[in-house]
Symmetry: C2
Subunit: 424 residues, 2 copies
């Protein structure tokens, strides 16, 4: 292969420096960054490919099926699936896992209607659209759980079609867990016996197995399928996840696609074979006790963050067993700097395993920009002792350069702080 031209090397080097810097301000997304998998590097020289079903044999033998099967078994155990009762595979991320679950659901109940709360991840709407399924969005409570009364009333009106419940075990914004026993009680109360429950447990699916008093979340709670992310709690250099589903549903779909000449029960077909190796490595490295310790750290850190927020008069809170700390929406500059995903009047931070007390204490005192908690909210300030807010004043490119804050260009652009080059 020809060498990489010098300009390309330089470009990648600069990119690496940028990313290194950004990694220090990652508190707004549920991606653990405390990982390092040097053992994966040697496999970058092969055309690995986990084509199709990891439990079948493939003529394409450069695969990591054996590792993938062990990863699936680990998730099956901790998501409380009975032996032999479920099937699964490593996906390219949460969306594929949720699409897989809802695809099975639609095959089982072609006339089914998908119900999901307004707090569900935005991709649900896209998936439902791709699948061409009918759906109804249910109101959400202000704490992030589904509005059980609204669900009850809505189901009551359409008892002629089987409901497909998309349940959140950890909503994106609030870390809220929909109450599975309560949802099942609603179905029972309405005498609905034909239903399907898919759980989006992207983040919490790898937290709840390691706490002492988990909410209901697994197959023992009567669910039909679940999607858990691998790049969230566990941490991975690329998005990945695990999809699990009751074997009887999978077999049904397998038969129908086999009928049209396709033996592949996965969504993707050609699949990344490195992500199973990564998840396998993480499992080997942490082990059950390690994951338990790590969850304890994250929950302690969440409590610490809440205490710090409150000490500054900022109303912060979290759900039980959740690392998602919710607080009033701060300045846009803070949001941009800390890569926070706000929603209307709230924002959140996730105390993932790489988040330290130091990061929380400061929420970002840097060379040139200081982010402070004051007056009940978080503001972006100039670094002078008097902490003069810069959020609403313009700053010239020269001034920015002088302060060495070129690297905060985007943060400040969001604020309308830095003027464009041509205005300088």
């Amino acid at each position: 292969m020809p060498p990489l031209p010098a300009a390309a090397v330089e470009r990648l080097t600069r990119f690496q420096a940028e990313i290194e810097q950004l990694a220090g301000t990652m508190v707004g997304y549920p991606c653990s960054q405390d990982f390092d998998y040097p053992e994966i590097t040697p496999f970058l020289q092969f055309s690995l490919n986990n084509v199709g079903d990891p439990f079948a044999e493939s003529i394409y033998r450069e695969n990591s099926y054996a590792f993938e099967r062990e990863v699936v078994a680990f998730f099956q155990k901790h998501l409380r699936a009975g032996t032999g009762d479920t099937w699964g595979y490593v996906t390219s991320g949460g969306t594929e896992g949720n699409m897989y679950g809802l695809y099975l659901a639609r095959e089982v109940y072609p006339d089914g209607v998908v119900y999901y709360s307004e707090h569900t991840h935005y991709s649900a709407a896209k998936i439902v659209r791709v699948l061409g399924a009918r759906s109804i969005m249910i109101r959400g409570r202000s704490d992030g759980e589904i509005d059980y009364d609204d669900l009850y009333e809505t189901l009551k009106l359409r008892r002629d079609v089987p409901p497909i419940l998309l349940v959140n075990v950890g909503t994106t914004m609030h870390g809220a867990i929909d109450d599975l026993p309560r949802l099942r009680a609603i179905l029972k109360d309405l005498a609905i016996t034909r239903f399907y429950i898919h759980v989006d447990a992207a983040l919490s699916g790898m937290i709840l197995p390691w706490v002492d008093d988990p909410q209901s979340f697994g197959f023992d709670a009567g669910i039909d399928s679940v999607a858990v992310s691998g790049h969230k709690f566990i941490g991975s250099p690329m998005p990945c996840g695990v999809a699990l589903a009751r074997r009887r549903h999978v077999d049904r779909v397998a038969r129908s696609v086999e009928y049209v000449g396709c033996m592949d029960t996965t969504i993707s077909g050609s699949r990344n074979a490195l992500t199973p190796l990564i998840l396998w490595s993480a499992i080997q490295r942490w082990g059950e006790e390690g994951f338990r310790r790590r969850v304890r750290y994250c929950l302690d850190m969440a409590d610490y963050a809440i205490a710090q927020f409150k000490a500054h008069g900022v109303e912060a809170w979290r759900h039980k067993n959740s690392v998602t700390v919710v607080f009033p929406r701060p300045d846009d500059g803070v949001i941009a700097h800390w890569q926070m995903a706000p929603s209307r009047d709230i924002a959140h931070l996730m105390t993932m395993a790489h988040v330290t007390r130091d990061m929380i204490d400061h929420l970002g005192i840097e060379d040139a920009v200081e982010i402070r908690m004051e007056e009940g909210r978080i503001v972006l300030c100039a670094p002078e002792p008097e902490a003069r807010p810069v959020a609403r004043r313009k700053m010239s490119v020269e001034e920015a350069a002088e302060r060495g804050i070129e690297k905060y260009r985007r943060t400040l652009e969001v604020l309308g702080g830095v003027v464009r080059e041509d205005e300088a």
Copy 2:
């Protein structure tokens, strides 16, 4: 992160050795193996994620959008899309790209019927099923192209619904290219003006731009969307690809998902950010002239293989501009050893960039197993000078061990050659 336990290190080391060995016998799949991207390694320590649309801005700033946009631009240019006329993104592989194209098609023509030939990759049936689209499979010619007459007659019977043509630019088995001008002539002849053409150009989409006399394959041939793989002709340690589509179709879908609160026009949502870096690197390394040189090498090697086959009385052939060499189905042992994907009475090898004259000359003389072309087909032989075929006799585990052919266990298992441990 805790260290990797010794047993896990050993397991991965063994796996690496296995894969190294397999890589030497990879002639049956269209995956180039002559790549090496050490520049990607440093990025394995970050939580990179190209969430959603690479042309939008994301709060998740640990992304490689800038590189992805350049990759998309490169594919746009060589797939002959007018400036600004198409949109695209880096997918997790061919299936996602084809799903994306057919999803757009179904959104544009909800009452449309998908037509595809029986030589289309098996995943088409799965995609159509996931999308809940109506479809009709059209007969294929024995050389792999669609049967144009069957298509004509079938379309003629259903002129009331818009056809969605899934066209192969390089079929999986024969490397056949459906004739786009002829397909358009059929539509014109039937006065069908509402139609959609999606092209699966998994392999050939990165071959045809580099030959002197390409068949019609790009946007200049009036197509609406296309999927090209990245791990095939270019080569990548994980499956990836590029999906391109006419912007007017994408905008339409964007509006409809935006209406339901989703700003993401990709299928996956959270997306691998390393694969855009890999494709970008490959483009930097090879450049247009390098790709042209590489295609010339592959086509020459295909001709060389055909000549060698013919010299041994094996009837082999290929389509114009194709690296897929088709020949009569050999012994199962040969198929397993060389990781060939046979179909009924034929098999093929792909002269990808890593395939050498030496590999073709021998089609596998190894320490213990020799694969020979004789009597008009390929057979697996013992290595003795008299080339006694072992294909149909049993071999004990002891004999296998003595010959050091434990590593060919699977090859021989397929032959019924090696008896199981308990029989030894």
